[in-house]
Amino acid sequence: MKSNNYFIMQLTKLLTVSFLLFGLYGRSLAQDTTNLMGQLEKEAQENKTVFATSTFKYTRIVDGHSVENLPAHVLDVRISHRFGPLNSGAYNFFGLDIHPVNVRIGFDYGISNNLMVGVGHSGAQKTYDVFSKIKILSQSSGAVNMPFTVSFVPTLAINTLRPQDFIVKLDSGVKVNRISYVFQLLIARKFSEGFSLQIMPTFIHPDNISFDNKINDRGVFAVGIGARQKISKRMSVNVEYYYQLPGTKETPNARNVLSVGIDIGTGGHVFQLHFTNSNGLTEKSFIAENTGQWKKGDEVFGFNISRVFQLKKKHS
């Protein structure tokens, strides 16, 4: 009798302990799925390289290139327009009435996500240009950590003015050289969701008919700096400045270009509105062949309009 009682008591104890443990185990099981989720998420993140996207909204900061490439198989039709200087007064509607304005029509195309090419024609000096942009490094975090995006941009421009329209009078015996080329390295970093910075070491070999370049026709070295600050989801303020190394300027009165603008994206279209002290629309003309000065009110109003078309779908 006594032993029977004892057995029941022991069994009760045992069951209580078991149920308690079972309960604890069940609870830790729910904990397990949460922990497992955390672990899987972490694993996925560590194994994945996340590339910085939209360092700049667009392939140009204002006049010059940004590190952004067009994605593969995307065609971008862009029209860039520069009006006359603001200091031309109210009669000329602060430059909007002034002719000739400079207009560039361009077609850019993404061959791959890291290689784009473009052609364009600008009215000033009847210039045709062709460029390519090659992305060498992409800023990323995660499995691969890369602090910068680096691109290389070679540009070639041809001045097709008729000899009777030449701005520069060449000395007799000097051969006409219509071709200029520009090499740019773009080094950019997206510091935060809203702020990106870019530095552009640049070498320009000019032609000899576009600008008074008798003092130096060996080549211009310049360093550009560009920045983007987002001010809303679809708008950002962009600033761009190119500093020419003084000893290498084509002429001493060549001025450095400073441009300030805003980007407005509307899904498919991008509008860029800006003020700049150059009306040039190819690299060599706005970086090295500019005489406009902000302090004299020579800045012009300008805009770029871009429309992209996906020519081939990424996947069906």
């Binding site: 022991q10 045992l14 302990v17 078991s18 443990l21 079972f22 185990y25 069940g26 099981l29 729910a30 397990d32 799925t33 949460t34 497992l36 989720m37 899987l40 998420e41 694993e43 996925a44 993140q45 994945k48 996340v50 996207t53 939209s54 994605p71 593969a72 995307v74 969701e193 989801k233 679809r234 994206g265 509307t266 899904g267 498919g268 992209v308 996906q310 779908k313 990424k314 996947h315 069906s316």
Partner: protein, 184 residues
């Protein structure tokens, strides 16, 4: 006596263990896609890196995905989705935490298809909403998979479509889930 007690205790614990340990299933490459249908254009985006965990014992069900891993037919759409709509820098993940009701009625040892209801918290764009949706659990050759299809309103998750593109992006988005689970 203590030895008998300990043995009995261990046996019970082991039984409890074996009953629950094999009940967690997961996947790291589940797929979730969404579909927006308007008169002007249809948009479908796919994500094939979805993490999901299913506990056969408790019915607990979780999903987690990186918004940036959705792929679109057009590059521009993908950029706009990440930058303007889902804001994947600010809200990198979308998640679901909930459970399947009456999971115990399912016999996981036999092939078959079971209609189930899942209830839980769906978090998209930083906004959490409690939802209930129906789906299927399919058991085929001992392999467990789950599918579901349901609709959400973008408005509910504070995703605004600007009027200029409102005839190209639907307010009503259809989400389709397809996960093949493996045993942990």
């Amino acid at each position: 006596m203590p030895i008998r007690k300990i043995i009995l205790f261990l046996v019970i614990l082991m039984a409890a263990n074996s009953q629950t340990k094999g009940q967690i299933y997961f996947t790291k490459n589940g797929s979730i896609s969404f579909f927006s249908k308007t008169i002007l254009q249809n948009i479908q985006a796919d994500n094939n890196e979805v993490i999901s965990i299913l506990n056969l014992q408790t019915g607990s069900l979780q999903f987690s995905l990186l918004n940036a891993a959705f792929h679109f037919p057009k590059a521009k759409m993908e950029e706009d989705f990440n930058e303007d709509y889902i804001e994947s820098n600010k809200y990198p993940r979308s998640t679901f935490k909930g459970s399947i009701a009456n999971i115990n009625k399912i016999d996981f040892s036999k092939d078959g298809t079971w209609q189930v209801n899942a209830t839980g918290d769906l978090m998209i764009h930083g906004v959490t909403k409690n939802i209930t949706t129906s789906g299927k659990i399919i058991i085929n050759n001992g392999k467990i998979s789950a599918t579901s299809s349901f609709k959400i309103l973008l408005e509910d998750y504070h995703i605004k479509i600007p009027s200029i593109v409102s005839n190209k992006i639907s307010e009503n988005i259809e989400i389709t889930i397809n996960c093949n689970y493996e045993k942990k």
